[in-house]
């Protein structure tokens, strides 16, 4: 007998609350700002047998939402071979080829037993600030093997039948530049699992295992039905989009990310076969990561589909291991964020053709993982690590958001004052970047300029892993591309910019010198010459765009004070139309 709709609605809320509360517990108790401020973490409930996502928190990092099922599956596969799964166990690992993403993301996976029978899995993932390797913070833009990226821990028992294994914790401590921070984050993740387990049992006490299982099945079926309905509303056909990564950090050659998206009735195929082969540098990703990226893109397009495994059933993924999207160990993967952003953009690009009313310009699509590191006067190491913002794409509803976060993230950026109080740096600029948005009837959002000065006698080593330095965020439906990513650093002789644009490993700046990161804006939506001239003038007044761009990109003649020359505007727009 199927569950009545009322109980189902009630249970849906209760289950989602469990995952949300696990998120909140970790955010509040985590040590490193990447989890505490940027919410680079995720929690959920997973199927006892398959590891498929049952329930996902609404506040966790979007990219993990798709990847976590693979992490749980990895543990299920391990215990299927090794045996020895006990109540009270908790597994820990960061193997990106099994669980997706990269080495910094530590997964804790715990079975929940009910009356001696496995009911479901709980999992927690969080980004730890440093796990060894050649580069503090692990974004090694030049790695050619995962061994250079950091320490890889396969699934091991951190807690064995309720006994915390200090030896495992000691291995983690010995392999990081930031052992206290990692220790704090590990404890935060255990806090979250403890709490989730208590909540699951309370729910089962109240409703009984049969009812809760029925609800979980029904929620999966409903997500599938909604997804099928969404797909069926699109015209059948194959829609292709090709985008490029700048380079792999080792060789300066572009990497093709190619998607052929086929709509066939109520099913969809995402075929990435034409994508470039595995690369030498860290821009590869594993199959689990690529699947998760597609999931994120589809969730941004179909915002009403709930986050569980049901919505993936109507979708076929073709991600061959001959491409850089399906690699295995020890191919380097530290730069996975850049590759998945390009995968997501390819999905957006294909949708612009299949369903223009659901499209948006590229949302700047680079994470700009920047580390600055050095030693304080007392010899203690410091590592400042941060991701930076950019402009979101113009869209049918509005201009793109200025200085937003990436589609894979809901992260808030740490305040400059927090960073300045924790590390010997000073931000000399933290501002919007004029003329960085893609032109459009709805223009893109503006990117940002961050300029940072080293304050300590020892200066600072600088590492960056970013993209969109050679291929700009694209516009859709006639919208223009945004400005590209730029990075500069001061030297004795002036200002320099690295050859691979935003992949940097060997830069050192002295005390008093600065680096400057200029992030891309978002791509535009619709023909810029259809933009209301008053809005263009307003953008000039506010310093979002220059008078030159107003004329060249929008065909609006306007002076620096925002005065429109109507005659010159008419003729410029007329000229463009011809």
């Amino acid at each position: 007998m199927s569950l009545d709709p009322v109980t189902l609605a009630v249970l849906k809320g209760r289950l989602e609350q469990i995952a949300d509360e696990m998120d909140a517990t970790l955010f509040r108790s985590a040590f490193n700002p990447i989890i505490a401020e940027a919410h680079d973490a995720c929690h959920g409930l997973y199927d006892a047998e398959t590891g498929a996502t049952l329930i996902q928190g609404g506040t966790g990092l979007p990219i993990f939402v798709g990847a976590m099922a693979f992490a749980v599956k990895a543990v299920i596969d391990k215990v299927a071979v090794d045996g020895g799964l006990n109540e009270g166990d908790t597994f820990l690992f960061n193997d990106p080829y099994l669980g997706g993403t990269h080495l910094n993301d530590f997964r804790l996976v715990r079975p929940v037993y009910r009356d001696g029978v496995l009911f479901c899995w709980l999992a927690s993932v969080g980004h730890w600030v440093d796990i060894g390797g050649n580069v503090p913070g692990n974004y090694n833009a030049k790695a050619t093997e995962s061994f250079q990226e950091g320490v890889l821990i396969p699934p091991v028992k951190l807690i064995d039948a309720g006994q915390f294994r200090q030896d495992i914790a000691d291995i983690l401590t010995a392999n990081s530049r930031t052992p206290d921070s990692n220790h704090g984050d590990l404890n935060g993740q255990i806090n979250a699992l403890d709490l989730g387990e208590r909540r699951v049992h309370a729910l089962l006490d109240e409703y009984g295992i049969g009812t809760v299982n029925q609800a979980l099945d029904a929620l999966g079926e409903r997500a599938e039905a909604l997804m099928r309905e969404n797909i069926a509303a699109l015209p059948d056909g194959t829609y292709s989009y090709d985008d490029y990564l700048d380079n792999d950090g080792v060789t300066d050659a572009p990497l093709l990310i190619a998607l052929d998206l086929t709509i066939d009735g109520d099913t969809m195929r995402l075929d990435f076969s034409r994508t470039a082969p595995p690369c030498a540098g860290p821009l590869n990703i594993a199959l689990s990561t690529a699947t998760a990226a597609c999931y994120v893109a589809l969730k941004h397009v179909f915002t009403d589909v709930p986050a569980n495994a049901g919505c993936l059933r109507p979708i076929e993924f073709v991600i061959p291991e001959t491409t850089l999207l399906g690699v295995s160990a020890p191919k380097p993967v530290a730069g996975y964020t850049e590759t998945i952003l390009r995968v997501i953009d390819a999905v957006f690009g294909a949708f612009a053709e299949a369903a223009p009313d659901r499209a948006n310009g590229s949302p700047y699509a680079t994470i700009n993982a920047l580390s600055m590191a050095g030693h304080r006067k007392d010899g203690k190491r410091w590592v400042m690590f941060c991701f930076f913002g950019g402009g979101l794409g113009g869209n049918p509803l509005s201009d793109g958001l200025n200085h937003g976060n990436n589609p894979i993230s809901t992260a808030t950026i740490p305040p400059a004052e927090i960073l300045e109080s924790a590390y010997p740096v000073m931000f000399t600029k933290w501002a919007l970047r004029p003329d960085s948005a893609g032109a459009g009837e709805h223009r893109g959002g503006l990117g940002a300029v961050y300029e940072i000065e080293a304050l300590d006698d020892g200066g600072a080593d600088v590492f960056l892993l970013g993209e969109r330095g050679k291929f700009p965020p694209f516009g859709v439906n006639g919208g223009g591309p945004a400005a590209m990513n730029r990075f500069y650093y001061q030297t004795e002789t002036g200002e320099a910019s690295p050859p691979l644009v935003s992949k940097v490993t060997d830069v050192h700046i002295e005390k008093g010198m600065r680096i400057r990161l200029e992030s891309p804006g978002g791509g535009g939506y619709g023909d810029p010459r259809n933009r209301d001239p008053d809005l263009v003038a307003r953008d000039v007044c506010r310093g979002y765009i220059s008078p030159d761009s107003a004329l060249a990109d929008y065909g609006v003649a306007v002076d620096g004070a925002g005065q429109i020359d109507a005659e010159a505007t008419a003729s410029a727009r007329q000229e463009a139309a011809e």
Partner: protein, 687 residues
């Protein structure tokens, strides 16, 4: 104060009604009043409720206002200018790099100060408080003049790291003050002495944004009151539930953002304490939302900040109110996945529920309550409508809920109420169970017009001990104005590690801020029993960015707090343990900020004044019974005039209690009893 003047008036000006609570302290008598609000000219509506009074007899008027709230929500504040540190003029616009929703990338953001109204002047302070570049007064004067010429009505000066050293900001305020044409001029360290530039900038800018409007509103209102002969004290309720002088409110209007709801929570706390329920969850069911708030040991819980709307953050202690989108006007619909949803979409007050017959076509929670017979269609509350259209409500439920789900209309109406109850129960769980509080130790206190319709279901759903329905649920906020204590908060970021802490410096800072906060309270000239100073430290393990609030159990006596390292450490560890399961021994601890609150305790308000008079009796309260739908069938249900029930009356469910501003449902299996103060206490019927 002259002893002949004992009249206190609480006035809560809401969007629809202005609620008034008149209290004659000498005689222990009170009266409630309700007049329509006059949007845009609130003073007129306010005064129309006072016309039959001789204002010369009034000692105190305490006002809860939504003028600030509405200006924020509707973006109707002043044009402001902002002066910033070089490189940081976009802080307000860049926010914390968030976006509106997790899923979906559309939508943009307009800051309250346009980019061309934000200018930079040379200056820089480092994180340790060192002034690297001193501010140049000439440049500040010039910037201020430029902004004034561009039409700025208020000026906010916001420099980086001013929490660590406000010298440059203070110098800039002094310089700008020489040329700024009005009193609407402030710097961020005056408004919020705390680390995190966006939150501080946003709070400061929003304060400036509200200043001209709220300042002129309060000024006009006070002038009108004075002109009518009022010569008593005039005070304003803050978002933290404390009262401040009208002068403080005019300089810190951002602290009025939740003025009205906070007053309601304060009244809820006082009523619950008097009734012997120290732990209460207040539930306010309005038209579009359900607001819950936690009262623990008789004290309301405060949140450090709130987000008014995307990108508009106010960081100042506020009564923590958790809002979900489920109100009487919430629309019931079956989504494309076949799931019944109630809210967050709302029919609002226009067109409103279908049964109001004002053009609404989609069924709401109120429609379901009407169809089930819980709301009296012939005598709706509020007095604006003569009767409700039950047939239209039924038809809408059939079309939009019953048919898609394969239910009959009564089952569908009941399902709407059940799903709404589940959402409300979720909100209650969020503030209780999920924070480690045992629900059996709490009572629900519904206020507003609709909360008491659902109170019984909520205590059963969540496992709460009781529901406590105040005697006048519709004027709780006005009553809170009369009850609330005076309060002034101050925060200062210090970033001092516990290891090697100079305890004497901390002690001095605590003593000094306590004295400063007391001055603000004393200046208001209110009759108080005493002033309490409460210290709270934000502390964490070094490396964490979030901090745990740690209440420090010390008071100022003879110029010292007597604080010691041992007191600090043990207070931190017990606070940390209560938030998280695991302490982290061996890791160093830091004090991030000191929070000081001075609370002026007002004379005790005897709530026994509210109890029913001698004329109350069961006979006079009984109305004709009617059929109401409960648990899948119609039940003959007794109906009562609530205000006529005597102390000690015991009404078994199913029953409906009606009063001019609220309807109360006592579900089958529950019983409601009138306590000594006139509250209705609903609990389980003992077998």
């Amino acid at each position: 104060m002259s002893s002949s003047k004992r009249m206190m008036i609480g006035a809560d000006v809401g969007g629809t009604f202005t609620d008034l609570f008149f209290f004659n302290e000498a005689e222990g008598r009170f009266r409630v009043g309700k007049v329509p609000s006059t949007r845009g000219d609130e003073a007129t509506g306010f005064l129309s409720g006072l016309t039959d009074r001789d204002l010369g007899d009034v000692a105190t008027i305490v006002h809860g206002t939504t003028v600030g709230t509405n200006a924020l929500l509707e973006r109707k504040g002043a044009r402001i200018g902002v002066i910033t540190t070089p490189g940081f003029r976009d802080t307000l616009e860049m926010r914390r790099r968030d976006r509106r929703k997790t899923w979906g990338l559309w939508g943009d953001f307009t800051p309250i100060a346009d980019r061309d109204m934000r200018v930079e002047v040379a200056e820089r302070t480092l994180a340790d408080g060192t002034v690297r570049v001193a501010v140049d007064p000439d440049e500040v004067r010039q910037a201020a003049q430029t902004l004034a010429a561009k039409g700025a009505e208020a000026l906010a000066i916001i420099f980086i790291n001013s929490y660590a050293n406000p010298a440059n900001e203070n110098a800039a305020v002094a310089a700008a003050g020489e040329v700024w044409p009005n009193e609407h001029l402030e710097c961020s360290s005056m408004i919020l002495h705390e680390i995190r530039e966006f939150e501080r900038a946003s709070t400061t800018a929003l304060n400036a944004y509200l200043q001209p409007l709220v300042g002129s509103y309060l000024g006009k209102l006070e002038d009108r009151l004075r002109a009518e002969g009022f010569d008593g004290e005039f005070h304003i309720v803050q978002s933290n539930g404390g009262v401040m002088s009208v002068e403080t409110a005019r300089s810190l209007p951002v602290r009025t953002a939740l003025s009205g709801p906070a007053a309601g929570v304060i009244a809820g706390g006082a009523i619950a304490r008097a009734a012997g329920f120290p732990n209460v969850i207040t539930c306010d069911l309005g038209g579009t939302s359900f607001d819950v708030s936690l009262i623990l040991d008789g004290t309301s819980v405060l949140a450090p900040q709130t987000t008014v709307d995307f990108g508009l953050v106010i960081r100042t202690p506020m009564v923590e109110i958790t809002t979900i989108g489920a109100g009487g006007g919430s629309i019931a619909a079956v989504d494309r996945g076949g799931l019944l949803q109630v809210g967050p979409e709302s029919a609002g007050s226009v067109p409103g529920p279908v049964c109001y017959a004002q053009g609404g076509g989609r069924p709401t929670l109120t429609d379901a309550n009407v169809v089930l017979g819980r709301i009296n269609a012939e005598n709706p509350i509020g007095g604006k409508l003569d009767r409700l259209d039950v047939a239209a409500a039924k038809a809408a439920i059939v079309t939009h809920v019953a048919d898609p789900l394969g239910l009959d209309v009564m089952q569908a109406a009941e399902a709407i109420v059940t799903v709404a109850n589940a959402k409300m129960a979720g909100a209650i769980r969020l503030v209780s169970i999920e924070r480690g509080h045992d629900p059996t130790e709490f009572a629900a206190m519904p206020f507003g017009g609709g909360g008491a319709l659902h109170a019984g279901a909520l205590i059963m759903d969540v496992g709460l001990a009781k529901a406590l329905v105040p005697r006048f649920p519709g004027v709780t906020s006005a009553m809170g104005c009369v009850i609330a204590d005076m309060r002034h908060d101050h925060v200062q970021t210090v970033n001092w590690p516990l290891d090697g802490l100079d305890v004497a410096s901390l002690d001095r800072l605590m003593v000094d801020t306590a004295a400063d906060a007391r001055v603000v309270i004393d200046r208001a000239g209110v009759v108080l029993d005493r002033v309490d100073v409460v210290f709270e430290l934000d502390m964490h393990y070094i490396g964490q960015t979030h901090a745990v609030p740690v209440e420090v159990p010390v008071t100022v006596a003879e110029g010292t707090t007597g604080i010691t390292l041992e007191i600090l450490r043990s207070a931190f560890e017990s606070a940390y343990k209560s938030h998280f399961s695991r302490l982290l021994p061996g890791l160093p601890v830091r004090i991030v900020s000191l929070r000081t609150a001075a609370i002026g305790r007002r004379p005790h308000f005897d709530l026994a004044a509210l109890k029913p008079g001698d004329s109350a009796s069961l006979e006079s309260a009984a109305l004709e019974s009617r059929q109401v739908w409960f648990d899948g069938g119609w039940l003959e249900t007794t109906v009562w005039k609530r205000l006529s029930l005597p102390v000690g009356a015991s009404i078994k469910g199913p029953a409906i209690l009606e009063q001019p501003d609220a309807t109360i449902v006592i579900d089958p299996g529950l019983v409601g009893e009138v306590d000594d103060h006139g509250n209705l206490v609903i609990g389980r019927l003992q077998a």
